[in-house]
């Protein structure tokens, strides 16, 4: 049990997927201008990343490994993720329209979110068991959401301030992200 707890902490803080592994930076900068879009994106990522992490784990261990075609991993993972996203979108639209209204526009964007694909590849690379992969996927997604929401909050404030012109927008956004990364860096000694 403690092992899983340590794994979760390490995935959320120490190896934060956005700030330490540099995965999913496009949506990080793209959807962080408003708090609303940031929370929407985070929830969509939590939802899809957990499912994708589990399904790609199964694909890898029960399909690619026995058939000895692991060189097709990249191709098969992206197909699995793309069809999963499509499926989730259709499912939500039919059965839970309220949730779909909230997540709707973010779902298609997730296919090309490298946080999802990256986390799946890390799960395989670290040789996690099924349960470990589940815990790690969920924690990575929580870490993504935490960093994104923190960042969006800061950015909303900065937008009110007067900033020198060349630094505006993305430029200052990146420097701010650096500062947040620095604070997450402090967790490095923990695990």
């Amino acid at each position: 049990m403690t092992d899983y707890f340590v794994l979760a902490i390490s995935c959320i803080f120490v190896n934060n997927i956005l700030l330490a592994q540099f995965l999913g930076n496009c949506p990080f900068l793209g959807t962080s201008k408003k708090m609303e879009t940031a929370t929407g994106m985070s929830m969509a990522v939590v939802f899809v990343l957990v499912l994708a992490g589990l399904i790609t784990w199964v694909t890898n261990n029960f399909l690619l490994k026995p058939l000895n075609i692991e060189y097709l991993r990249t191709l098969s993972f992206i197909l699995v993720i793309a069809s999963l996203v499509q499926f989730v979108e259709m499912f939500l639209k039919k059965s839970i329209p309220a949730l779909y209204a909230g997540l709707g526009i973010f779902l298609p964007l997730i296919t090309t979110n490298c946080a999802v694909m990256g986390a799946c590849l890390i799960n395989i690379k670290e040789d996690y068991t099924f349960v470990q992969a589940a815990v790690a996927s969920f924690s990575y997604a929580v870490g993504f959401g935490l960093a994104l929401v923190l960042f969006a909050g800061l950015r909303e404030r900065i937008n009110i301030a007067r900033v020198p012109q060349p630094l505006q927008d993305t430029s200052l956004g990146l420097v701010t992200a650096g500062m947040i990364a620095l604070s997450f860096y402090a967790f490095k000694g923990m695990v």
């Binding site: 700030l19 330490a20 592994q21 540099f22 995965l23 999913g24 930076n25 496009c26 900068l29 060189y71 097709l72 991993r73 990249t74 191709l75 993972f77 992206i78 197909l79 793309a82 296919t111 090309t112 979110n113 490298c114 694909m117 990256g118 590849l121 890390i122 690379k125 012109q165 060349p166 630094l167 505006q168 993305t170 430029s171 200052l172 956004g173 990146l174 420097v175 701010t176 992200a177 650096g178 500062m179 990364a181 620095l182 860096y185």
Partner: protein, 197 residues
């Protein structure tokens, strides 16, 4: 015709320089630029995928139905990424290990899919190749430049050769995660300053 090829090529070098102007494909930009070598290796791998996928997408643009085009593009891109992965594993194994999961992640690099969707899907093959080459070279140069800044300040070397003499205290912040964000942000600021004049 030669003129329009040149135009598509050069726009990737400054006017639409991928990581800075379009702010796309930031993950590899931040993650692999601890050194010049890694940056350029990653840039070349991406360039190869960009040119090949742009060419094929453009050739097939009349065949692919509009509704499933994104899925088709992704399959085309993933095929070339797999080729690059296997080639690098065979010929540049050390670099392959250093770049790690960022090679398979070229699949989800927004630049590649972005160019397929925004340019190659609507233009003839020769222009698509010029566009892919321009974007790729621009991307490689940006990665190289960022790598040079970070490696020289963070480790005191460029391509492994010391540049500041023996008394230099490496500014390790630059090669670590937070330094990547700050460094890219400041470079973007400088680009904006120069671009305005």
């Amino acid at each position: 015709m030669a003129q329009s090829i040149a135009k598509e090529f050069t726009k990737g070098l400054w006017a639409e320089l991928p990581p800075f102007r379009l702010v796309l494909g930031l993950c590899p930009v931040l993650a692999v630029t601890q050194s010049v070598e890694n940056g350029i290796g990653m840039g070349l791998a991406t360039t190869f995928v960009l040119i090949c996928s742009n060419f094929l997408v453009s050739l097939l643009r009349t065949v692919i139905p509009a509704k499933v085009r994104i899925a088709c593009y992704i399959v085309i891109i993933a095929t070339f990424v797999t080729i690059v992965e296997l080639l690098m594993q065979a010929f540049t194994y050390e670099l392959f290990l250093k770049l790690g999961i960022f090679i398979p992640l070229i699949v989800v690099n927004c630049i590649v899919l972005g160019r397929a969707e925004a340019f190659a899907g609507k233009n003839p093959p020769h222009l698509a190749i010029a566009d892919g080459l321009g974007m790729g070279v621009g991307f490689t140069l940006s990665l190289g430049a960022l790598g040079a800044v970070r490696e020289s300040l963070g480790a005191g070397t460029i391509l492994g050769n010391p540049v500041f003499g023996p008394d230099f205290q490496p500014f390790t912040f630059m090669v670590q995660a937070p330094g990547a964000f700050v460094c890219l942000g400041l470079m973007l600021c400088m680009m904006n300053l120069i671009g305005k004049k």
